[in-house]
Symmetry: C2
């Protein structure tokens, strides 16, 4: 565990932020939390708790599912991680550091998630909120459909079935 005499390993942005967050709440920086943080920022963009748990396990660790959930929750609270649904019946997560807000196109053929950001969409939403004297704090836009890669190969039947199961 220890770093070579007197030299600390380079701390990543996310580590610094997480430490700061934990300190602010008088919480402790444990090996498990660090391992999860590293896995989150090392893995692909979108993942779920189960996948993360599996990755940690195959990476040699032995962290319980409970700790994974508990830590993901902390990461979300700290703002380092975002929680999405993406139409699944389980939560999806994504690292939020160096990854500004965006919305999602979700392919029902291959499950690919395409991120997009459009300032005009954002301002249109703001305008709508104004009209309703509504103060927006958060929004979630998910567009489900078929991506370019699946356009020709996708089986319509299966697509529609998936569409029906969307939990959004």
């Amino acid at each position: 565990m220890a770093t070579p005499a007197g030299r600390s390993a380079p701390k990543t942005q996310e580590m610094l932020r997480f430490e700061h967050f934990l300190r602010g709440r008088k919480l402790k920086l444990t090996g498990e939390r660090l391992a999860i943080l590293a896995a989150v920022f090392g893995s692909g963009k979108h993942f779920d708790a189960e996948t993360l748990h599996a990755e940690l396990r195959s990476a040699g660790g032995d962290i319980s599912r409970a700790t994974v959930y508990r830590t993901l929750d902390l990461l979300v609270q700290s703002g380092l991680v975002r929680k999405n649904s993406l139409g699944a019946n389980h939560a999806n997560y994504e690292a939020a550091l160096g990854n500004e807000h965006h919305d999602h196109l979700i392919c029902l053929g291959c499950n690919r998630v395409i991120e997009f950001y459009r300032s005009d969409l954002e301002s249109l939403q703001d305008a709508i909120c104004s009209e309703h004297a509504f103060r927006p704090l958060h929004h979630s836009l998910q567009i489900f459909g078929v991506c370019a890669a699946c356009k020709d190969t996708a089986d319509e039947g299966r697509i529609l079935e998936r569409l029906a199961q969307i939990h959004t």
Copy 2:
């Protein structure tokens, strides 16, 4: 159950549509299904399975939760009902007949759900999809925040707590 001699009770739009849907699938029109249909179209805009089940129960009926879920599923498939999430950890539903597509503003103070429709928002989404060669089939936009009525009274702490629990 029977209607007075020779005169059938007026059938509502939704009954006709549901009957048609069921016939098309060789499914049966049962008393339970009719009762649920009536409750759905008689109740407020947004509701969940549990609430619906309770309403049916207090209305004298004795329909099992399983049947409620099974029937809601049929209603969704028939297009008579829409299933939403509204940020809750359980599904929400709304009657879809005579109720065109719209998106939602959800107040974290009082749970009020404000519906809105903006064609420019819709076409902007279409434009975004085109740019990505993505064929949209369905979308869900939910904006969480504080409505006009709660603007002054809402407790920020509670609001933020609610925000953190959003399962979207």
